[in-house]
């Protein structure tokens, strides 16, 4: 009985737990509750993933109302996959968090932190699970609003400012999406994504070629694309991201960097591939060339910017913008191989970037700073933490036997297979920039005379190290054993493209 309701419980449990956190108010208890809820969500996600792998997509009608009238929750390969790593990272980051939270967030506000964290998780999972487009907007706003709040918890006075700037950008993006949804609704009279796709397909069948001429569709598509691009932080709409990641508390950065942008990419894939269909987006409209151009420019600009950063949080933030470019590069190829690469990179990058930000969290805890100059020589006093950076960094560069290599290789073969020679070459060259910015930090950690702070520092607490190594280790495991990640991504890609054939 309860099994049947698991899809809704995945959303309901964290949603309900969040106000409970506020009511409980005690730091220790809220922490325990949040931890429990996160791991529970992870458990449910694992269960859903296995169910999808064995029995195919799971649908759940909310309140018993059938689609397309009621809201349905749909768990298919793509959503189960994204939910899996979102909930996994949420749980691991929260396990990692207590010491760091204690150091960075005032004790009186910690229960609020946990409550908002759970809300954010709710939003992210909700976006993935729902089959209703308006619901996507609502969950998107739940996650965004809680993200703004979480960012503003940062220690410096720049944190609220970064949060405010993100809020303005984010709300514009969300409103754009809302306009897009409205126009789509106007066209189809439905909000259910599957139904919407069917209706549009039917229109195309009737109108044939002239279908692309529908101005409402074009406008809806434009609004959705731009809105989602803001949320994904696609160059040149990325300006909110560096500040937000830099000034947020370390734990928050770990969480949102690993999950938030990926979930937006997920929505983008859904919208482009399931609703508008690749034929419309890539054949009739030149979204693929546009996306490719922006991704490549973004990759180079952001990677170059990352090279010149003196704050490693900011460095990683710029690197995130570049990495989003790789995901979109794969998605824009509009073939199975490219899409597989894009989806795998969502997963791999979540692990790699999550792990790296966790390393940064450890460093900040012990050194009290994320500035490169204060990091000098920390490799001597914090060997384990520093080595975790090396491992994660290798993943970011895409060295074989790390997860980053898997995505890079898939993307490369996809690009070459579809005759995108320039993309392949530029992509490889750009990954060398990652080498530069990662190694700059490695050299600072290992080859410089210790700074005062680094000399006085001691190794990060065991729990933080263990969890960091769990994530970094996973990024290596999934670089060697790719049957699951690449397999699921391949299934998804086939499904997404098969629908439209």
């Amino acid at each position: 009985m309860i099994e049947h309701h698991l899809p809704i419980l995945l959303i309901a449990i964290p949603l309900m737990a969040a106000p409970c956190c506020v009511l409980i108010h005690s730091r220790r208890l809220t922490q325990l509750l949040a931890l429990l809820v996160c791991w529970l969500c992870f458990g449910i996600s694992v269960w859903l993933m296995t169910k999808v792998m064995h029995e195919g997509a799971v649908t759940y009608n909310l309140g018993g109302w059938e689609a397309p009238y009621g809201i349905v929750y749909v768990v298919d390969y793509l959503s189960a996959f994204v939910m899996l790593f979102v909930s996994a990272l949420a749980a691991i980051v929260l396990t990692y968090s207590p010491t760091s939270v204690q150091a960075e967030i005032p004790e009186s506000k910690q229960y609020l932190f946990y409550a908002t964290y759970l809300l954010c998780l709710t939003g992210l999972l909700g976006i993935c699970i729902t089959g209703d487009l308006f619901n996507v907007f609502v969950f998107l706003e739940i996650s965004s609003l809680s993200t703004y709040a979480l960012i503003s918890l940062g220690r410096t006075r720049r944190a609220p400012l970064a949060a405010f700037q993100y809020l303005i950008m984010g709300t514009i993006g969300a409103t754009f999406i809302l306009i897009g949804i409205g126009l789509l609704y106007q066209m189809t009279g439905t909000l259910n994504m599957a139904d919407m796709a069917e209706q549009l397909e039917a229109v195309r069948a009737v109108d044939g070629e002239t279908w692309a001429g529908s101005r409402t569709m074009l406008v809806a598509f434009a609004f959705m694309t731009v809105g989602l691009s803001i949320k994904m932080a696609v160059f040149p709409l990325h300006s909110w991201l560096p500040n937000a990641y830099t000034y947020a508390p370390s734990v928050v950065t770990c969480f949102i960097a690993a999950t938030a942008t990926k979930v937006s990419v997920y929505v983008f894939i859904r919208v482009v591939y399931e609703i508008f269909t690749p034929t419309f987006a890539f054949n009739i409209l030149p979204l693929d060339s546009a996306l490719m151009a922006f991704s490549l420019i973004g990759i180079f600009v952001a990677s170059l910017a990352a090279i010149y950063q003196t704050n490693i949080k900011r460095l990683l933030a710029y690197s995130s913008i570049a990495q989003i470019g790789y995901m979109l590069l794969g998605i824009s190829m509009a073939n199975t191989a490219g899409l597989t690469a894009g989806i795998v990179h969502m997963f791999n990058h979540a692990l790699i970037k999550g792990g790296l930000f966790m390393v940064v969290g450890c460093l900040i805890l012990r050194l009290g700073s994320a500035k490169l100059e204060d990091l000098r020589g920390a490799g001597k006093t914090m060997p384990w933490t520093s080595f975790a950076w090396v491992l994660g960094g290798l993943g970011l560069i895409g060295v074989p036997l790390t997860a980053g290599f898997v995505s890079k290789w898939l993307l490369l073969t996809a690009a070459i297979d579809s005759q995108h020679w320039w993309v392949a070459t530029l992509m490889l060259l750009s990954s060398l920039l990652a080498l530069v910015y990662v190694w700059r930090v490695v050299e600072t950690l290992y080859f410089a005379e210790p700074s005062e702070r680094a000399a006085a520092a001691k190794e990060a607490p065991p729990l933080m190290l263990v969890t960091t190594y769990l994530v970094v280790g996973a990024s290596i495991v999934f670089g060697i054993w790719t049957e699951f990640s690449a397999g699921v991504a391949f299934e998804t890609a086939q499904h997404l493209l098969g629908v439209t054939q």
Partner: protein
């Protein structure tokens, strides 16, 4: 003159018929302009609100059917022989009828109506089983949610502004930038 341009040109009648959309566009642009041009944070938030409001209007506009009333089913409108059903059942049935209407409202007709799909709805409603014309309630309902989201956003934004003012002593972004650069 090419065909496309002929299609693009619209008569004064059509222009007037779309007046609510013009309002939406005007509000949207106004709001958007304020957001990107004003450096005072409060004004930015006001702009954001106007921007969001325009979207509310957009949705409500699309839900409105010419001469339609609020979608509440009165007992005398439901042509049922059997009146022994209790009220709840009737309401259930009514909503089913309404949903059927929406479902019947096929996209083919929809697109033929061009950018004014509400007309299609209207035609449908007239040929339906009922004589009464209802407006589509769903967009309005959606907007209730969106308004709540908007309020939450505004509240959060204002709260952040309060904190920024406490920390910096100003809410002008330019001045804050200068302060940040100095520190």
């Amino acid at each position: 003159m090419s065909n496309d341009l002929l299609q693009l040109a619209m008569t004064a009648e059509q222009f007037k018929g779309l007046y609510n959309y013009w309002i939406v566009i005007f509000l949207m642009m106004t709001g958007f302009f304020i957001v990107i041009s004003r450096k005072n944070m409060i004004k930015t938030v006001i702009g954001l609100n106007i921007f969001q409001t325009s979207v509310f209007l957009l949705y409500i506009t699309m839900g409105k059917v010419n001469n339609g009333t609020a979608p509440i089913l009165r007992p005398e409108d439901a042509h049922h022989d059997d009146h022994s059903h209790d009220h709840a059942d009737e309401a259930d049935h009514a909503s089913q009828i309404f949903l059927d209407q929406i479902a019947d409202h096929t996209p083919a007709q929809n697109v033929s109506a061009g950018s004014e799909p509400a007309i299609a709805l209207e035609a449908l409603a007239e040929t339906g089983t009922n004589d009464v014309i209802y407006s589509n309630p769903l967009p309005s309902v959606l907007m209730l949610t969106a308004i709540v989201v908007g309020i939450a956003t505004t509240a959060l934004a204002l709260a952040l502004i309060v904190r920024i003012r406490e920390d910096y002593g100003t809410i002008e972004e330019d001045e804050i930038l200068i302060l940040d650069r100095e520190s």
